[in-house]
Structures are given as C-alpha cells and as structure tokens.
C-alpha cells in the first residue's frame, strides 16, 4: 500500500543548498494541498559546517517532525554518518555514490550522481540542489510544475540563473523516471485547497500587520531578522515606519516612543537582544505604555548556539528586570498560532497598557507549516482606552480605576498633556511625593493583570477524559506533545494534556483544574533547568515530573511518548 505520509531528511554542507532543495520540495508539496511540517538547522557560520533540513508531508495534518525518517538524502559522507541511524527500517537512502559509500543495511538505496549530473550534464554545479528537488518530486509523485513558480520567484532578481535552475529541476525529475522505484512512498496528487503555508516569522509579520502594528524598530539577529526584513518591505505601502536601530536598547526605546505617540509598535529579537531590553520592559510597565517584543529564542546563555533551538528565555520573560511590574507573556504553539497569538499579544498589550513578550523560538520561527486560511473578518482587534472629553477636563493619565486601566491620551490631543514618568507618580503623573501614591499605583498596575487573567480564553484540554497523567507544555512543542499524547491514548494510557498560550497571566483556574484532575504532571520543555516546570511549581505548589532536552533540537513524539510510558509504568 503506498504510504501517503513521508518524512524526508536532507543533510549536507552549509551553503551547498541542502536547505533550499528541501524547501522547494516542501513548499511545492504544501502548495499542492499536502500538510507540511519542517525543521531546519544549520551552523552559525556563513560557510561550511553541517546543515540539515527535515520535512514531514502527508495528506493528514502533521503536528511534528515525527520519529525517525523515511527518506534520507545524504549530500555528503557526514550527512550519511550523522543521520543513517535515524532511517526507518525499509527506508530510502538517496545519495551521491561519488561522495557517500553506504554500508549495507535494511534500506532501499538510490545512488544518484547528483554532482556529476549538475557538473557534466548541466554544466551548472550550483544547480545540484534543484536537481535533487526535481528528483524527489518525480520519485514521490509531485507535479514539477508546482515547483516552477517557487523557483521563478526565488530567482526573480537573478534572471540569468532562472533558466538553468528550471533545467536542473526537470533534469532531476526526468532522472527519477529512469530508476526503478522500490519504495512505497507516494504522495497521491491532490487538489489545491484553501490552506496557507508559511513559517513562524511570516505568520508573526502577517498577524502584526493585521493587528495594526505600524511601527517596527529592530536590530538584526538570528532567527528574528526576517521580521525586520519583511516589515521594512511591507510598511511603506501601509504608511508604517520600519527603523533599523543601532542596537536593541534603542530599538525598544523607539518602539516605546512610537507607542507613546499612539502607534501600535513592536520589535523582534532573540535572547541577547531581550537581555538588553530589560530596563525598558520595566519602563513600559511603569509608564503604562503598550509594546510588543518578539523573542525568537535560541540556545543561550550569551551567544550560545545562535542557530539552534532552546526554550530558554521563559524565566527572563516572566521575571527579568528590576522591580515588580505587570507584563504579558505569550508563547505560540504552531505557525498558525503565531498568527493568532501575535494579534492577541497586540490586543493585550494595548488593552492593559504594558509590555507583551512573545516567545517564539528558532524552530518555530523557521518552521514551515500548513495552516487553515484565517477568516480575517472575524478577528477582533483591540485598541487602547482613550480619555473622554469629560476626562480631558481634568486629565489624570494614571487615574485609579477598578480595572486598573486608565485612559491614555496621545500627543497632539488638546487637554491630554502629561509627562510619561519612569518615576513613581500620582494620578496626574506627578512625581513630587511618590510614597504617597506608591501603594495605590502598584496595586492599580497589577489590577490590570487580574483583569487580564479573568478575560483569558481557556486553553483546550485534550486526551483521555479520565486521565491520570497530565502533560503541560508551552510554546513550539504543542504539536509534538499532542502527537505523543494521541499515541499514548491510542495505546490505552490515561493521559491528557493542556498547552496554555498566555503564560503570564496564566489561566490559573483552568490549569489548576487540569492539574487537580490528574495524579501526575509531566512538563516537557526544551531547556535544562525546567523553567516552566518551576513556574508551575511556584504557582500551584506542585512538583511536576520534568522532561528536559537541551541539545538544540526539538522533541520527537517518541521522546515524549516514552516519558509518558515510563511514568505509567513506574506509577
């Protein structure tokens, strides 16, 4: 029976085109109607080192990288050595016999002289990766014309290369027809459906535009730079302004200045940049100015492993910065979630007038994934509370209200003049006698978080109704946890899961209810110290079982499944 889901891993030297070979194939299949999930990893250096690209594509929704790989495309011996152990039984090895000499094993081998084809047949060595793309398309039943458009748009700016690349594509495609297909993987031609395919950074940019963000300031950093680059391109046509700042301190400073002046504004960075933004996070809290920070987390501390994944910045998002101030922390679980949750981040920042930290990560930012086309008309957009003409008669920027939310005037608004203070202040924003207002102002600021907490959407629970084991995750691991839990439930294990997106304020009631409903809680996360597990401990006085991975790669469903099984068995 032909299998309609394929996991493909391509590995090779950084700069050899491994990643774009995979990307063309992946996007091409997604645009033909398949579900898709990818992961990429590459060295921090511009040239050299080992890069690999992982694709899972199928006719049913795909939640994670999966376990193992059905197909390994080894561009070089290192790729073969690093990944052959992962190849599933009866899997497919595609390799260039001039560089890779596979030992025997329980797999199907397609030795294809890609190098020779590119160099000798095409006289275009750089097209090798596109030859691979064409070959994969042919082998697994993808219409090469679906890839043409992608290649055309990639080489729009370099038309001199376009023809050769298209030729490479079809050469690879034709070559696949010459070999005898021995594997069972076949994507049956589908219809193009109303789905989208994008990566996390694309989804964040799109969501931010829809949320009304019209000012962005940022400083380049992997893996967040795409957002700066996208918005720099898109903003002029929308009347927005994009600023490449001199550093991250300046970036968040300009964002807060822009927001003070009335524009929805954000910045995007990674760990090192967020560390530098710490002081301004507190100012946003004190002066009650909305702002959104995207943190595309990568492995820290310091420069760490700049192109590798880690969920290592939760602590900083929750607790970083001197003093106590309200903050919103949101972590999306998928590409689709990036789109909706960034809108939520803007809505919450604007409504509650404080900083919102949005925790994506390297895997999610660069993960291409299919999603349903959003019904954009149904999406609610929130704006900050503005003073009424009555309120402007004796305007108190920081009026003490039940909700903690005070109407915010904007420069050029008559009667609304005030000084936004980094100092403690009274209702007018005056700073002469701060101790008099300290307690009332502090509690007012935190009342906003109480209100926000009440207004949170409940995170859905899934899995067994009578679960004894509960899995609680956060961020980019949503899909992989879901897959593992579904596997476990299928196996008859009493497991359920919940995956809150808003982490601060946490939907305490729902998460608390979930925790009370199970006997054991497992918290899988991609960091060493169990940051989320400790946060749950601090909040609910529980001692969850931790599952931590911190090598710079995502979980596989099997890793989580095995942990569940272990807990079941030891219970």
């Amino acid at each position: 029976m032909p299998k309609e889901e394929i996991i493909i891993r391509l590995g090779g030297e950084g700069g050899e085109g491994v990643i774009s070979a995979g990307d063309f194939f992946a996007l091409g299949s997604a645009r033909t109607g398949y579900h898709l999930f990818t992961f990429r990893t590459y060295p921090a250096e511009i040239k050299g080192g080992h890069a690999w690209y992982h694709i899972r594509v199928g006719s049913k929704p795909v939640l994670s990288m999966g376990d193992g790989t059905d197909v390994l495309v080894a561009f070089n011996a290192e790729a073969y050595n690093n990944h052959i152990g992962l190849l599933n039984e009866n899997g497919v090895l595609i390799y260039d016999p001039d560089t890779v000499t596979p030992t025997n094993g329980n797999f199907i081998k397609y030795p294809i002289p890609f190098n020779k084809i590119a160099k000798e047949d095409l006289d275009f060595l750089r097209g090798k990766n596109v030859v691979v793309t064409g070959f994969l398309a042919g082998l697994f039943g993808l219409d090469p014309s679906s890839l043409e458009g992608l290649i055309k748009s990639r080489f729009r700016r370099r038309p001199e290369l376009l023809d050769q690349n298209l030729k490479s594509l079809y050469t690879g495609y034709e070559f696949s027809k010459k070999i005898e297909k021995a594997d069972p993987y076949y994507l049956k031609p589908t219809e193009r459906v109303g789905r989208l395919v994008m990566n996390g950074n694309d989804a964040i940019s799109a969501g931010a535009l829809l949320a009304g963000c019209r000012f962005f300031a940022g400083y380049p950093i992997t893996p967040a730079s795409d957002i700066l680059e996208t918005l720099a391109k898109e903003f002029p046509a929308l009347g927005g302004v994009c600023l490449q700042a001199e550093d991250e301190i300046s970036a968040i400073g300009s964002v807060i200045g822009a927001s003070y002046a009335g524009m929805k504004a954000m910045t995007a960075t990674s760990g090192p940049g967020v560390s530098l933004m710490t002081e301004f996070m507190g100012l946003s809290g004190m002066a009650e100015i909305p702002a959104v920070i995207i943190d595309a987390q990568r492995a820290g501390p310091a420069t760490g492993m700049p192109t590798k994944l880690e969920q290592g910045d939760l602590n900083h998002a929750l607790y970083g910065g001197h003093g106590d101030f309200p903050r919103i922390v949101i972590a999306p679980g998928s590409v689709e979630d990036c789109f909706y949750q960034i809108i939520n981040a803007f809505n919450m920042a604007e409504k509650y007038q404080t900083i919102a930290v949005f925790l994506s990560d390297q895997s999610l930012s660069q993960r291409t994934q299919t999603m349903n086309k959003p019904s954009t008309a149904e999406i609610a957009i929130a704006d900050r509370l503005r003073p009424t003409p009555e309120e402007l008669k004796d305007y108190q920027r920081f009026s003490i209200t039940d909700s903690g939310i005070s109407p915010m005037s904007l420069p050029s608004e008559e009667g609304g003049m005030y000084v936004a203070p980094g100092l403690e202040h009274d209702e007018y924003g005056h700073v002469e006698d701060p101790m008099k207002s300290r307690v009332a102002m502090t509690t007012k600021r935190f009342r906003k978080m109480e209100k926000a907490q009440k207004e949170l959407e409940a995170p859905p629970r899934y899995g067994a109704d009578d679960a004894e084991i509960g899995v609680i995750g956060w961020g980019s691991t949503e899909g992989v946890i879901r897959e593992a839990v579904e596997q476990a439930v299928e196996k008859g294990y009493k497991v359920a899961a919940i995956h809150p997106k808003v982490l601060c304020p946490l939907p305490e009631e729902e998460v608390g209810r979930f925790i009370s409903s199970v006997r054991r809680v497992i918290v899988p996360e991609l960091n060493y110290s169990g940051q989320f597990a400790k946060y749950l401990s601090a909040t609910f006085a529980i001692k969850p079982i931790r599952l931590n991975k911190y090598v710079g790669l995502p979980f596989t469903p099997g890793e989580i499944f095995r942990k569940i099984e272990e807990v079941v068995n030891n219970d």
């Binding site: 645009r31 109303g194 789905r195 989208l196 395919v197 994008m198 694309d202 799109a206 535009l209 829809l210 019209r214 000012f215 300031a217 898109e234 002029p236 046509a237 929308l238 009347g239 302004v241 600023l243 700042a245 001199e246 550093d247 301190i249 300046s250 970036a251 968040i252 400073g253 300009s254 964002v255 807060i256 200045g257 822009a258 927001s259 003070y260 002046a261 009335g262 524009m263 504004a265 002081e279 301004f280 100012l283 002066a287 086309k373 959003p374 954009t376 420069p411 050029s412 608004e413 008559e414 009667g415 609304g416 003049m417 005030y418 000084v419 936004a420 980094g422 005056h430 700073v431 002469e432």
Partner: protein
Amino acid sequence: MTEQLAQLTVKHYKSDQKPIWCPGCGDFAVLACTHRALTNLQLRPENVVIVSGIGCSSRIPYFCKTYGFHTLHGRTLPVATGVKLVNPDLTVLAMAGDGDLFSIGAGHMPHAAARNVSITCVCMNNQIYGLTKGQTSPTSVKGHTTKSTPYGSISQPMKPVLLALAYGATFVARGYSSKTHQLADLIAQGIKHKGFAFIEVNSPCTEFNNTYDLLDTMVEELPKDWDTRDRAGAMALASTETKVHLGLFYKEERPAYEEMAKAFEKNVNAFDANAYLARFA
C-alpha cells in the same frame, strides 16, 4: 481655537510644578529659554513633546505644559526618534544632561545624527553628574577632582559640539545659560530646523561644579562673519580648549529621515489581510 494662536504666552508653556533645582542652577535658564522659544514660535503646546533621560536636567519636562516623556538614563534619543517617526507633525525636543547624552547614551547620538531625524537635542552640560551628587562626567576637564576621581580625572574631556559635527548633525550650536537671549533664539532656530539639531548649553551646577566665573572668562561669540556651512572650520573651532565659542557653528540642508522614509510611501492603503495572506496560499 484658532483665535488663540496669536495669544500664546510663556505661561501657556509653564506647568504648575515647581522646579526642584538648586538655587542658581543653570537649568532654570534653559527651562525659561525653552518656554520662550516655544512662545516665540507660537507652537501649540499639545503638539510639542519634550523627551528627557535621567538627571537633574532631565526633570525639565515636568516643568513644561506640553507632552513629555521622562525616560531612562541615556535613552532620550531613541525614545524621541520613535515619537517623531510616527508623528512627524510633532515638535520633538530631546533634552538631557552631559552624562545622559555622552556617557551612558553615547551610542545613540551618532545614529540620530546620521539619520538626520528632526529632533532638537539640547545637552545641558554642567560637566558633572548632578543628580548622583557630583561624579566626573564625560565633559569634565582633565584633572577634575570629584567624588569618583579623588585624585583627579585622567580622561580627556569630550567636546559635544565637535562630536555633533563629526556625527554629521545638520544644525550644531552652543549656548550658555547666562546668555538667555541667544539661548532662546538658538533653541527656536533648532526647532525650526529640518533634520537633527544639536545645541550644547553650558549650564553650570552650582552645587557640585560651579563654573560660572570660569565660563564668564572663556565664552566668546563666534566671529561675526562665521560661515555656518564650513564643517571643517567648525570642527577646528570646536576643538579649541581655551575658548568656549557661542552661537551657531554649522547648518546644512539635508533631507530629514522622516521625510525620506515617507517618500517610500506611494499609494498608502489599508492593510488587505486576505490579499496579503493569499501570497502564502
């Protein structure tokens, strides 16, 4: 509303909060000159935003009845830049101390100037850290004995006007808090200037570094026939250590950042989410 336009007086720009500076502090004069400059230009107070950092000098927004933002130490210019870029119709002043602008904030001015964003940046230079009670600042003279340099400072003092020129600021001037007529005029000119305007004001700290007497002997007007287009000449003069020249050193017309940025905007439209998302279909 329009009838009021001609009637704005200094009191329209004065807030009801009393400055907390020490008697004789130069910042009083800078405040008064700012009020006067705004009055002279008859700017609507709600269209003015005064952004400051942290320091004695940076308390200035509280004493003005305009919009204001008392930010963080050193971050005056980044915040001011954000304000100006999203609403170029606002008059944006960035006012702060020598420590704020040239020590902790030293990395921002080169960029604000290179961008030529229309901000009037006023450095209230007292050659000392006032608010933290008297430590050496980046403009303190060599040998200056302060709390933090008990054996005398061993760093060369920075020259704000020279730096502004090297950074490519398109309006560079120096005033003195004792010469209020000139200072009010320079601030007004700076506000009218399109692009980044920098004004250094010698504004002594009576409490920790009273330099009035010394300054009185050192100040000198720029030569009558001074050519404000001569950047090299201005840099040479700004390097002098024996005199403190006052007036407009340099002025140049160069497109302002906010105008160049706006020039990219052709046919601004509302965001068409469906069309945008269709790119990913």
